[in-house]
């Protein structure tokens, strides 16, 4: 009898089956798989990696003459690492809360003859990797080029970034467990979303302080000129390869990893396996023409989507500091506001279009209904465009008080940008669950980059028209070419 060869993809390779490494690899492989093939993914990652690569090389060259431990910037590096920790906690918090609730796949693993602690450790390692990866991708080129230019010890940097991710995950787990015990799972999730919105908005506002509060910003920067007292300077020293603090940070990360494994088991066991408690809902009425029935349904579903509300909240919070600037002498002008409004309106329309088109819960029900497909599409587009256009309209009112032309131009340009982004979502749609809203860009990096470029083109045309410049049609032409390309190469589902 001849043994049947295992398919190449399923061979465990050097990793023992069901080992911790094997489980982590399985988790990462599932998370990394998107809609595009391996080639598309490599192109997308390559393009995304290009900026940090160039930026990292330039920055490393710029500081090539700095001492191994540059005391003058130790305060600033410490502040940056504190911000990094906060951002990572926010990111880990969202993943940790999902950990207990997305149980289907986890329960399959927990029913396998593998120690539960190993399964949970693998899952936590997955969260730590997801939290660390974007920051590692951003910073790795800088540390690598710095080593090439003579700062060999700075190669400790990526290890410290990874260690901070491990510590952030542990803090998030402790917080999530405490919050779930205090507030219950549903409220804890809402609290996490709210915290994410506030943290994101605060970071954005902080990034804008050099523009609208330069004096305050300068004062804070001067305060950071002095070296922080030990052990507050240890993370920064560890990042720069100082052996003692580096060992301390790594030891702390190891302890955090241990705590994570212990808390994760409790957290996952405590998460409810069944649905949330039932609450009566005020009934909505769907009536009138099929268009208004469809439109009403989409608006109702959008309004009842907490993920979406969180996303909209985040975008609104991002706009608050910008709005505050319009009446100041800062550098954000009505023209820039109009440009930003076009981009944000288009981005919001794209998010909503993804929800109403790709994340339609019952596509076969709609297809089987006696309503022409065009009418369904028009209702869905109207639902995707209405909320962002209301938002842009409110923004236009504010802009109009300073520059009426900018306000008048912003409205049609935002509508065009939103429509183009929605059409792009339509042409590249792939069925998905509404719960995958946060992961929609992960499934196709090429689509995400295309959308970014498309919205950039519309925003660019707005800016150039308001300058004014004869080059204004150029970005619009580029957007047209991009749309044409996407239409031509769109996936055609077999009916």
């Amino acid at each position: 009898m001849t043994a049947m060869a295992a398919p190449a993809r399923l061979r465990p390779g050097r990793m023992g089956q069901a080992s911790l490494a094997w489980l982590i690899w399985n988790d990462i492989r599932i998370k990394a798989r998107g809609r595009e093939g391996r080639g598309g993914r490599i192109i997308a990652i390559g393009v995304l990696a290009l900026l940090p690569l160039i930026g990292g090389a330039l920055a490393a060259w710029h500081v090539r003459a700095a001492p191994m431990i540059p005391l003058a910037v130790l305060g600033q590096v410490s502040a940056a690492l504190a911000v990094l920790l906060l951002v990572m906690i926010s990111s880990a918090f969202a993943h940790v809360l999902r950990l207990g609730h997305d149980r289907g796949e986890l329960e399959l693993l927990l029913t396998a003859p593998i120690p539960a602690a190993r399964v949970i450790a693998a899952r936590i390692s997955g969260v730590q990797a997801v939290v660390a990866l974007p920051f590692l991708l951003l910073t790795l080129p800088f540390f690598a080029f710095s080593a090439l230019f003579g700062h060999g010890f700075w190669l400790a940097g990526p290890f410290v970034v990874a260690a901070i991710a491990v510590i952030a995950t542990a803090i998030a787990l402790v917080l999530a467990t405490a919050l779930e015990r205090l507030l219950g799972p549903a409220r804890a999730k809402t609290a996490a979303q709210l915290a994410g919105v506030l943290l994101g908005g605060s970071m954005f506002a902080l990034g804008q302080t050099p523009n609208f509060a330069p004096a305050w910003f300068e004062a804070r920067m001067r305060a950071l000129d002095s070296v922080p007292p030990a052990p507050l300077d240890w993370p920064a020293r560890a990042l720069l390869g100082d052996p003692g603090p580096l060992l301390a940070v790594l030891a702390l990360a190891a302890a955090a990893a241990f705590v994570s494994a212990r808390f994760a088991a409790t957290h996952i066991e405590a998460a409810p396996a069944g649905p949330a408690a039932e609450k009566p809902t005020r009934a909505a009425y769907f009536g009138g023409s099929p268009f208004s029935v469809m439109f009403g349904k989409e608006m109702k579903l959008l309004g009842r989507d907490p993920e979406l509300i969180s996303q909209i909240g985040q975008q609104l919070v991002f706009m608050v500091p910008v709005l505050a600037l319009i009446f100041t002498d800062g550098q954000i002008t009505p023209v820039r506001m109009a440009t930003a409004g076009v981009f944000l309106g288009g981005a919001l329309a794209s998010s909503l279009a993804w929800l109403v088109i790709s994340a339609e819960d019952a596509p076969d029900l709609i297809a089987a209904a006696p309503v022409p497909a065009g009418q369904v599409l028009r209702a869905k587009l109207a639902a995707a465009l209405s909320p962002p256009m209301l938002l842009v309209l409110a923004l236009a009112v504010v802009v109009a008080t300073r520059d009426a032309n900018a306000a008048w131009l912003m409205l049609p340009m935002a509508a065009l940008a939103g429509l183009a982004a929605a059409m792009m979502q339509l042409w590249t749609r792939a069925p998905a669950k509404r719960s995958a809203f946060r992961q929609r860009y992960k499934s196709s990096l090429l689509t995400a980059m295309g959308e970014f470029l498309l919205l950039g083109c519309f925003a660019g045309t707005t800016r150039l028209l308001l300058m004014p410049s004869w080059w204004a049609p150029a970005p619009l032409l580029l957007a047209g070419l991009l749309m044409g390309g996407i239409y031509l190469f769109r996936p055609r589902p077999e009916l």
Binding site: T281, A284, K297, L365
Partner: protein, 249 residues
């Protein structure tokens, strides 16, 4: 020459229906006629072409060749008119988790243009019949599989279709709910509707269906009442015996 009497038209008539996926035929020149006012069970192994056939009948998939008519309406030429008299209930319930049962039924009624004055009492009656009345204002996201299946059935019935097409309608239902659904379907047929259903539960087909079709590799290999299918076979032959002999041959 007289126009055909719509009351005498078959509920479903399929001629030479063909559909292939990636070069592999899923439905291969299928001919099928389902008389009106009956329950018709379409049986076959997994991958035999049952669901693909029903998806083409409901306009969800486009045939490569062939003709489909529902009560004389050409499905390919007049899809909206055909959909107006049809309901499709797949094995996975088509629901919106964020809507309540009352809202869901109002939405379906709106799509099929049922006047609210008719839709509201119908929705109330269906929710009561299916034991969902107490849950009418609760969002569906917490519902069990059986409750979702019952609500989807209510959605299929709210516009009183002449033809109900059901793919595995009893999946996920407990014994009491399955009985409820079967009684509801029989009542609809008694009121003049036609039901076409697929099922892997052969006892259900044997007890409920007036006619049974067995499909294999996209072709109809046998059709008739249970008595007709048993002709030429040993006494006491069950549908399971016939099915295993024909579907796997």
């Amino acid at each position: 020459m007289h126009a055909p009497n719509p009351l005498c038209l078959p509920a479903l008539q399929i001629r030479g229906l063909t559909k292939a996926f990636g070069g592999h035929p899923a439905v291969d020149g299928l001919d099928l006629t389902v008389p009106a006012g009956q329950i018709y069970a379409l049986l076959g192994h997994n991958g035999a072409g049952k669901t693909t056939t029903l998806r083409m009948v409901t306009g969800l998939a486009r045939p490569d060749a062939g003709q489909i008519s529902l009560f004389g309406i050409d499905v390919l030429a007049e899809p909206i008119a055909a959909k107006q008299i049809t309901a499709w209930l797949p094995d996975e319930p088509l629901l919106y988790d964020k809507l309540t049962p009352a809202e869901y039924l109002a939405f379906i009624a709106g799509l099929w243009r049922v006047p609210p004055a008719d839709a509201q009492p119908r929705a109330a009656a269906l929710l009561q019949q299916l034991g969902l009345w107490d849950k009418r204002d609760i969002r569906c996201e917490g519902f069990s599989r059986g409750m979702k299946q019952k609500l989807a059935l209510a959605g299929a019935l709210i516009h009183e279709p002449r033809l109900l097409i059901l793919d595995e309608p009893l999946t996920g239902l407990d014994a009491a709910a399955a009985r409820l659904v079967k009684d509801l379907l029989l009542a609809r047929v008694a009121a003049g509707a036609t039901v076409i259903m697929t099922t892997h539960i052969l006892e259900v087909a044997e007890r409920m269906a007036q006619r049974i079709g067995i499909i294999r590799s996209g072709r109809l290999v046998a059709e008739g009442s249970m008595a007709e299918l048993a002709v030429g076979r040993a006494a006491g032959t069950t549908l399971e015996d016939v099915f295993l002999e024909l579907a796997a041959a």
